[in-house]
C-alpha cells in the first residue's frame, strides 16, 4: 500500500520540509535525508537564488512538491498562470507526486493567502473534484489533497469533514495527503473523534502523511507548526500507519525553526511506527 498510484509508486520513507535556516547546514554537512518537501510557490519564480538553491538540492536529494495556493476548493476555475508556473517547476523537480490543500483562499482575483475551510456540501465536493482533475490532467502528475486544520464550520454543511474528503477523492480519483496533526487540531476545535475520522478515510488512497506541532489557546488550537509533535498526534499517526501501511511521512516545522538536527531527529521518531507491522484496513 505505501507505494501506490497516488504517490507515483514510490517508497520515500521519512522526510522534512526544506527551510531557509537549514540551507547552510545541508550544503556544508550533506546530511542523509529520505527526501525534502518544498513549498512549490517559493520556487515558482523566474530566476535568482531560489532556483539556484533548488537545483543544488536536486543534485543530491529527492524532492516532493507541496503547494499552498492552488485552492482546489475554490468555486472558480484554477488560475491558468499558476498552473503553467507549477508545471515548469514539476518538470524541474520531477516530483513523483504533488500535493495541495482541500481548501479555498481566493475569490474574484483577491488572495487571502490562507487555507480557508470548505462548507461540506455536495456542490463543493463536485467543484473541488473538477479542479483537482483539471490540475492532475494539466500537470500530468499524481495529485494528493491535504485535509486542513480549521477554526470555523458552516451552517451550509451537509456532511462531516471525513465524508466530504471521501466524496471529493472518490469523484476526483486522487490521493490523500493525510495530516494527522490537522485532524487532531480540528477534532479539538469542532468536538469530533479523530479516530472516527481515521477509520472512515479510504486508506488505500493515502499517498503521504504530515505530522507537525501546534499551539494551544484558551478556546481553540491553532496549527502553527512551531512545536514538536505531541503524544496524542503520534497516537493518531500510529493508527494511520496501521490503516494505510508504512507511508511517506513528512514533519512540518515552519516557525521558530530549531536546528536541522533537532527537526530531523523529531521527524525520525516516526520510524518506530513505520517499522511496526501494518494492519492494513484494520
Amino acid at each position: 500500500m505505501p507505494a501506490n498510484r497516488f504517490n507515483g509508486f514510490t517508497e520515500y520513507g521519512i522526510g522534512i520540509g526544506l527551510r531557509i535556516p537549514h540551507y547552510q547546514h545541508i550544503f556544508e554537512r550533506k546530511p542523509v535525508v529520505g527526501w525534502f518537501e518544498i513549498i512549490s510557490e517559493n520556487f515558482m519564480v523566474d530566476g535568482g537564488r531560489p532556483l539556484a538553491t533548488l537545483d543544488r538540492i536536486l543534485e543530491r536529494y529527492r524532492v516532493v512538491q507541496h503547494g499552498v495556493s492552488l485552492y482546489f476548493g475554490s468555486a472558480e476555475r484554477l488560475n491558468r498562470d499558476h498552473l503553467k508556473r507549477l508545471k515548469a517547476l514539476v518538470k524541474r523537480t520531477r516530483t513523483p507526486w504533488l500535493t495541495d490543500h482541500l481548501c479555498w483562499g481566493s475569490v474574484d482575483g483577491r488572495y487571502t493567502h490562507d487555507l480557508l475551510p470548505m462548507p461540506y456540501t455536495f456542490e463543493a465536493a463536485k467543484l473541488t473534484a473538477r479542479n483537482i482533475r483539471e490540475a492532475r490532467d494539466y500537470l500530468e502528475t499524481p495529485v494528493a489533497v491535504e485535509n486542513v486544520s480549521s477554526y470555523a464550520e458552516f451552517h451550509a454543511s451537509e456532511m462531516t469533514e471525513w465524508e466530504f474528503l471521501n466524496e471529493v477523492v472518490e469523484r476526483a480519483d486522487c490521493g490523500i495527503l493525510l495530516d494527522v496533526n490537522n485532524i487532531y487540531v480540528s477534532s479539538r476545535n469542532h468536538n469530533f473523534d479523530p479516530f472516527e475520522y481515521l477509520n472512515s478515510m479510504p486508506a488505500e488512497r493515502v499517498a503521504q502523511i504530515h505530522i507537525a506541532g501546534h499551539s494551544k489557546f484558551t478556546k481553540y488550537i491553532l496549527d502553527t507548526h512551531d512545536h514538536p509533535v505531541i503524544d496524542p498526534v503520534w497516537k493518531l499517526y500510529e493508527h494511520a500507519i496501521r490503516r494505510a501501511g508504512p507511508t511517506a511521512t513528512l514533519l512540518e516545522w515552519d516557525d521558530r525553526i530549531p536546528s536541522f538536527d533537532e527537526v530531523h531527529a523529531e521527524a525520525l521518531k516516526a520510524e518506530k511506527y513505520i517499522a511496526a507491522p501494518a494492519l492494513v484496513n484494520s
Binding site: D46, G47, R49, A52, V107, T112, D114, E153, H155
Partner: protein, 285 residues
C-alpha cells in the same frame, strides 16, 4: 447558500480591516458560521480575520523595512493597513503584495506627510530590490564577447536589473536598515538600540541628492550600484532596444564629457557591465 456566494462573503469578512484594537469590525455578520460551545460565530471568523492581517502586515514589514524606518513604525502600520485594504494581493504569492505601493502612495500622499519624497524613493528602491532578487536572467555576455560589438549591434540588459533615478540617497539608508535587521538575534539589545539610533540619525540628516542607481544581483545577492548620469542614460537606451550606436548618440549628445575621453569611458563602462553579467543578447521575438 451557493459555494461562490459563501466564498465571496467570507473573503470580504476575512479581509475586512481590523479595528484599532485589532478585532474584527463588530458589525460583521457571521451568521453563515456555526458557533460552538466556546466561541461565537464572530469569534471563529475573527481568528481568520486576524491571521490574514498579521500575515499581510508581516509581509510588508519584511519587504519594506526601509520605508518603515523612514516613516516610523506607527505611520508605516497605518499606511500598510490602508494600502492592503485598497490593494489586496492579486497573485498566488505575497512577493507581489507591494507591487502597487509606489503608485498608491502617490495617490495617497497624506500617509507619508512631509516625508513623501523620501518615502516614494524608498518604496521604489525596495520594490526594485524584490524584482532584482528573483527576476529572470538570460545568458550573459562576458568581457570576451565585447570584441564582437559594433555600433549597429543591439544588446540587452538582464531583465532583473532595475534602473532608478532618485531624489534622495536612500540606498545607503536601506543598507543600514538591513544591517540592523540582520543583527536582530545576534547582537545585544544595547548594540541594537545604538544601531537603530544610528539609522534614525542617518535619516534625519538625509539631504536631497539626485542619484542614479542600478539595482542588480551578483552571485544571487542584490546590490545597489551608483551610476553616472551618462551611464544611466546609456543603459536606459539599451534597455529600450536601441542599437549600441543609437544608444550612445541618444544618451550622450548633451554630455559634458569631452569627446577624447568618451571612447575610454565607453570601453570602461561596457567592460564593467559585462564583468557584472549585466549584458546579454536580446531574445528573439
Amino acid at each position: 447558500m451557493k459555494l461562490m456566494e459563501l466564498q465571496r462573503r467570507m473573503a470580504a469578512d476575512v479581509m475586512r480591516p481590523l479595528t484599532g484594537s485589532d478585532n474584527i469590525a463588530p458589525k460583521t455578520s457571521a451568521a453563515y458560521v456555526k458557533p460552538n460551545d466556546r466561541l461565537t460565530s464572530l469569534e471563529r471568523l475573527e481568528i481568520y480575520n486576524r491571521q490574514y492581517w498579521y500575515r499581510v502586515i508581516d509581509s510588508m514589514y519584511e519587504d519594506f523595512a526601509g520605508l518603515c524606518a523612514v516613516l516610523g513604525q506607527r505611520s508605516f502600520d497605518r499606511l500598510v493597513r490602508a494600502y492592503v485594504a485598497e490593494c489586496p494581493s492579486q497573485t498566488f504569492t505575497l512577493r507581489n503584495l507591494g507591487s502597487q505601493l509606489e503608485d498608491w502612495l502617490r495617490r495617497n500622499p497624506g500617509y507619508a506627510g512631509q516625508k513623501l519624497a523620501v518615502a516614494l524613493d524608498m518604496a521604489r528602491l525596495e520594490w526594485a530590490h524584490i524584482e532584482a532578487y528573483d527576476g529572470e536572467s538570460w545568458q550573459a555576455l562576458g568581457p570576451e564577447d565585447l570584441i564582437e560589438l559594433g555600433p549597429g549591434l543591439r544588446i540587452a540588459l538582464q531583465p532583473y536589473i532595475r534602473l532608478l533615478e532618485l531624489q534622495y540617497p536612500v540606498d545607503d539608508l536601506r543598507i543600514s536598515v538591513n544591517a540592523v535587521s540582520e543583527d536582530h538575534g545576534a547582537a545585544s539589545n544595547a548594540v541594537l538600540k545604538s544601531k537603530e539610533r544610528g539609522v534614525v540619525r542617518q535619516f534625519t540628516r538625509l539631504k536631497p541628492e539626485r542619484i542614479f542607481l542600478a539595482v542588480h544581483r551578483l552571485d544571487f545577492s542584490v546590490y545597489y550600484r551608483r551610476l553616472s548620469v551618462e551611464e544611466f542614460r546609456l543603459l536606459e537606451a539599451l534597455r529600450k532596444g536601441l542599437s549600441i550606436g543609437a544608444a550612445v548618440e541618444a544618451s550622450l549628445e548633451d554630455s559634458p564629457i569631452p569627446l577624447d575621453e568618451l571612447r575610454g569611458k565607453l570601453e570602461t563602462w561596457f567592460r564593467s557591465w559585462a564583468e557584472l553579467g549585466w549584458l546579454c543578447r536580446p531574445k528573439k521575438k
